[in-house]
């Protein structure tokens, strides 16, 4: 068991998929997942040959290396490097929010579309890239990336899971984001056009809002100048600059950041202080 702890961690789902694939193709000398369970052998990094010898059958199956083909022949299925599974690792999940009924659920894996389990509305999950003029609404649970030079025309509404904004939102255009909205360098946008829970200001971006900006979480790597109100965490990174007025419950500032603002940061027990804003 001690050797397990020393070994490299591996996503079990990739391993099982590869085993199932190789068993299906008849390439593997063994179909029992236990037989390829990473052994307690020492070492075993990708550069030196991957899998531990103890994990393979005694028939002399060679150690698996990264992308090493199992079995012989040109059609052999490449196997990922085999390490030790110290604990069960959950697959990456993302939060999907139905635009019709607002129902939220977790989804793992990659699919093109899904149906809301509550209202049965179809939810597209593909990613969209905007490089020119966008004149039609976009509605997806995936990621929309408005590239530099991309222009979202007036009246267009973008609704997505994640949005990366590096282009221009004309007045009248709006974005609704259920997860992270990232504003990159060169983005032209105003606070009234944004509806997001989580905001990230990328490094090099300069975002100045004249109005109030209300979000759940905000992560600042660039410049943000606003009347900011956050229910969750305000994270000011080492290269970030925050100016204006800041109201929130949680503040985290890395050394090196610039903070020139009026601050109202308090937890559940709010102290009686003059000038504080009520909620």
């Amino acid at each position: 068991m001690a050797d397990f702890k020393k070994a490299k961690m591996l996503d079990p789902y990739s391993l099982m998929r590869a085993i199932a694939r190789s068993a299906q193709d008849g390439e593997a000398a063994h179909g029992d997942p236990a037989a390829v369970r990473p052994g307690a052998g020492p070492g075993g990094d990708e550069g030196t040959g991957g899998a531990h010898a103890g994990g393979w059958s005694s028939a002399g199956t060679p150690r698996a290396t990264p992308r090493t083909k199992v079995g012989v022949g040109p059609g052999a299925v490449p196997m990922p490097a085999i390490g030790a599974i110290g604990k069960t690792i959950q697959p990456t999940r993302r939060t999907i929010r139905c635009f019709e009924c607002g129902y939220e659920f977790q989804l793992s894996g990659t699919v093109g579309a899904i149906y809301c389990s509550r209202c049965r509305a179809r939810i597209e999950l593909g990613d969209v890239t905007v490089t020119g003029e966008q004149r039609e609404d976009i509605r997806t649970g995936g990621t929309v990336h408005v590239k530099p030079g991309g222009v979202v025309k007036a009246g267009v509404r973008i609704m997505a899971g994640n949005i990366i904004l590096e282009g221009t939102l004309e007045p009248g255009a709006s974005v609704t984001c259920t997860q992270w909205l990232e504003i990159g360098p060169g983005a032209v946008v105003s606070a009234r056009q944004l509806d997001t829970r989580k905001l990230r200001v990328a490094k090099g971006a300069e975002v100045r809002f004249s109005g109030k900006l209300a979000v759940q979480h905000v992560e600042i790597h660039g410049l943000l100048e606003a009347d900011l109100e956050a229910e969750g965490l305000i994270s000011l990174r080492a290269d970030g600059i925050l100016r204006g007025t800041v109201r929130g419950s949680h503040l985290q500032v890395e050394e090196g950041a610039t903070l020139e603002a009026r601050m109202f940061i308090w937890g559940p027990e709010r102290p009686d202080v003059p000038g504080g804003s009520g909620r």
Binding site: G256, R262, I265, W266
Partner: protein
């Protein structure tokens, strides 16, 4: 390093001072202070400390309660138990999650700050 630790003055948790405290070196305060604190080195306010007054030092580490302003020529570090009601000014700032902070912040690594 060892000589700096030896030069640090400590005000215990059961000490209550009314007046101005001045130190040329570093100072750690675990008690209560009603007055200003002027420190030539690092001023550390322990988790149980309560200060009602202004603090000026080279660096300030806050884990307790402060009602007053802070001016640091170098750095201000707020621990998760810090409660600060006042303005701060320094070249560098670090804040842990959990801090209560009401006041104005004027922290700019590119600007010089003098006590």
């Amino acid at each position: 390093m060892m000589s700096e630790e030896l030069r640090e003055s400590v005000i215990g948790e059961d000490v209550h001072i009314v007046g101005t405290v001045t130190s040329n070196g570093s100072l750690r305060l675990d008690g209560q202070l009603e007055g200003d604190l002027q420190c030539g080195g690092t001023a550390t306010l322990g988790p149980n400390s309560v200060v009602k007054g202004n603090i000026s030092a080279t660096s300030v580490n806050i884990e307790g309660r402060l009602e007053g302003n802070i001016v640091a020529s170098d750095k201000i570090a707020m621990g998760s138990t810090a409660v600060v009601n006042g303005d701060i000014r320094a070249r560098r700032l670090s804040v842990e999650d959990g801090v209560t902070f009401v006041g104005r912040s004027d922290v700019n690594p590119n600007a010089g700050t003098q006590i």
